[in-house]
């Protein structure tokens, strides 16, 4: 890994069209500004990982019968999930 030290207001360039600017540093929080072409995907790593994980746990490896799936309203589903998580079903 390449490690660079930068001060607020300073910028790093990656290739021709990506710039990363350190906007401010406040304790543990570092504000970063990124300029990149719109086709470049920029994501917080934890969001990227959570979407990957969710996809992996959504894989259906073979045919299943969906006939029994019935819709509940969002709120109803939410309440039942909460009950399930709280173990007082």
């Amino acid at each position: 890994m390449l490690v660079l030290t930068r001060k607020p207001g300073q910028t790093i360039r990656i290739g021709n069209d990506i710039q990363i600017e350190i906007l401010s540093v406040n304790g543990e929080h570092i504000k970063v500004g990124i300029s990149a072409p719109s086709e470049v995907l920029i994501l917080r790593d934890e969001i990227h990982r959570s979407v990957c994980r969710q996809n992996q746990s959504s894989v259906i490896p073979g045919p299943i019968n969906l006939a029994g799936v019935r819709l509940k309203s969002m709120n109803e589903g939410e309440r039942e999930r909460d009950e399930e998580l709280n173990g007082n079903k």
């Binding site: 990227h48 969710q54 959504s58 259906i60 490896p61 045919p63 029994g68």
Partner: protein, 137 residues
């Protein structure tokens, strides 16, 4: 063209093959998919044409929740928004959730698809939607 898929042998025309140039998150190498109606409750199958052990169940959250909006992606004519469902089958009453944070957007006119993350939306990858029986055939 014939494909071995998670749903068995599928015969598809060229127009039915969807190209996901970036794959799906966690499945970046899988670029070729097919969308099929399941015949149940607006549920669809998204079927990998390259890995016969991979398929997803999709649903249109947008059709059922008027205030669900895709932000940050320019939707054009021919675009349709789907959400991947997670079905936990290890329980008698499996919990089914929808990934509202990262919808699958399919452009049926151009036969293309993408999974788009609505980073600042506050939507969940596990929005509870269904409860029901799911049988494994």
């Amino acid at each position: 063209m014939n494909f071995h898929t998670a749903l068995g042998e599928l015969e598809l025309t060229e127009d039915e093959v969807l190209i996901f140039a970036e794959g799906l998150f966690g499945f970046e190498q899988l670029k070729h998919w097919a969308l099929r109606e399941s015949g149940e409750l607006d549920l669809y199958w998204l079927i990998s044409l390259e890995d016969k052990n991979i398929a997803f169940v999709l649903w249109n959250v947008q059709d059922h929740l008027a205030d669900y909006q895709v932000k940050g992606f320019e939707l054009a004519q021919g675009h349709r928004v789907y959400n991947i469902l997670t079905i936990r089958q290890n329980k008698k009453q499996p919990l089914i959730t929808a990934n509202m944070l990262a919808p699958v957007i399919i452009n049926s006119q151009e036969h293309k698809g993408i999974q788009f993350v609505m980073q600042e939306s506050g939507y969940s990858t596990q929005a509870p939607l269904f409860l029901g029986e799911v049988e494994v055939c």
